[in-house]
């Protein structure tokens, strides 16, 4: 049963990717572009076909906070998980809870199928108002299970459908609704579009931050992040 569901999900992803390939001609959604996708886009005759997709993630913090930090990230990425586990909590207590900044997580699922599945599953959790609980659970799993940071275990089942369901049950989601959402692949095309949009925006790796108007590539230390924030507050 699980296998069939997995296959169905796989087929749907393949179909969506296929449609995107047709839509973008030789520019294969950036997945196989080693070089900067900004460069690839500008060298490409179809560069006018920019994908825009609105992130569905809830923004953390007060809408009136002065500075917005966007994080482009992938649930399979161990450095993104390190950010979520160690730096985001400090950011929350020092800046988000004090209404100085607001924070938005944007999917950049660049590391393969399970990056896509997990991001789509997080949107299913969002349908039940438990986005952040599920998001934190996924990153907890990544930090515990995917091995050495520089050699993570990717696309080997940590975020299989069965496991995504078990994490959903850990955070107390309504499993009928969650399974329904996952099985319908409701958010898969949104998430695949987000991957395309991220690479088109110049995100070649994760995590990738935009602090106000300042881009920052990779995992920053908290002190670096603080200096980038303070410069704009």
């Amino acid at each position: 049963m699980q296998d069939n569901e997995q296959k169905t999900l796989g087929r749907i992803i393949t179909l969506v990717v296929f449609i995107l390939i047709i839509a973008f001609g030789s520019y294969v959604i950036g997945f196989d572009q080693g070089k900067s996708s900004v460069k690839s886009t500008s060298n490409n005759k179809n560069s006018s076909q920019t994908v825009t997709v609105k992130s569905l993630t809830p923004i953390l913090g007060s809408p009136s906070a002065k500075l917005l930090i966007k994080e482009y990230a992938d649930y399979q990425c161990p450095y993104c998980s390190e950010f979520n586990q160690t730096i985001l909590p400090q950011l929350e207590s020092d800046y988000i809870n004090t209404n100085k900044i607001k924070f938005q997580f944007i999917n950049a699922p660049l590391l393969g199928d399970e990056s896509v599945y997990s991001a789509a599953a997080a949107y299913c959790a969002n349908d039940q108002g438990k986005y952040w609980q599920y998001h934190n659970e996924l990153y907890l799993i990544t930090s515990q299970k995917n091995g050495d940071e520089s050699h993570p275990v990717l696309n080997k089942g940590i975020f299989s459908q069965a496991n995504l369901e078990s994490y959903a049950s850990t955070v107390g989601l309504n499993m009928n609704l969650f399974d329904q959402c996952l099985n319908s692949s409701k958010y898969v095309s949104t998430v695949v579009n987000e991957a395309t949009a991220a690479t088109q925006a110049g995100v070649n790796g994760t995590p990738y931050f935009i602090i106000g108007n300042q881009p920052y590539e990779g995992l920053p230390s908290y002190s670096i992040l603080q200096s980038l924030i303070q410069a704009q507050l």
Partner: protein, 152 residues
């Protein structure tokens, strides 16, 4: 073959390094935007530097505009024993033509390009890699260094 521009910069311990110090040796001088940028690309999760293997063939020196303190923290945090030079006013980065306008979401800003230069024992730039794609870079340098050394 052009002469490599001189430099005289502090490393993460405060020690000054100049180009002349490397006379008689092969040197891989690479410019990178910022300390502390571990991350994941589709191909790999890493520091985007694979210096250890190259060090068997040449001295390897990284330059960014980060401060000496930042380099110190960076190398301590990740247990790196590489030489990282600090070029806060980016004069050396500019001398190597690696200080360039960058664009992100329509906004332009100036920053360090990921460029690498192989400098031979006579202090001449014998190979340059501009806009380095980190994924196969180490392998590429090792191959080229091996060839260059055999014909020097």
């Amino acid at each position: 073959m052009k002469l490599a521009p001189n430099f005289n910069l502090q490393d993460q311990t405060g020690k000054l390094h100049k180009l002349d110090d490397y006379k008689g040796k092969w040197l891989v001088l690479y410019f990178y935007p910022k300390d502390d940028t571990p991350g994941c690309t589709k191909e790999a999760c890493n520091f985007r530097d694979a210096r250890a293997d190259i060090e068997k063939l040449a001295a390897v020196v990284g330059v960014s505009k980060d401060s000496v303190a930042s380099h110190k923290k960076f190398s301590e945090k990740y247990h790196l024993n590489f030489t990282l030079l600090s070029d806060p006013d980016h004069s050396v980065i500019e001398a190597y033509d690696s200080w360039k306008p960058k664009k992100f979401m329509g906004k332009e800003y100036l920053g360090t390009s990921r460029n690498t230069f192989i400098i031979n024992p006579d202090g001449k730039i014998v190979k340059e890699y501009l806009g380095v794609d980190p994924k196969n870079h180490a392998d590429e340098i090792i191959k080229d260094l091996t060839d260059l050394r055999s014909t020097f």
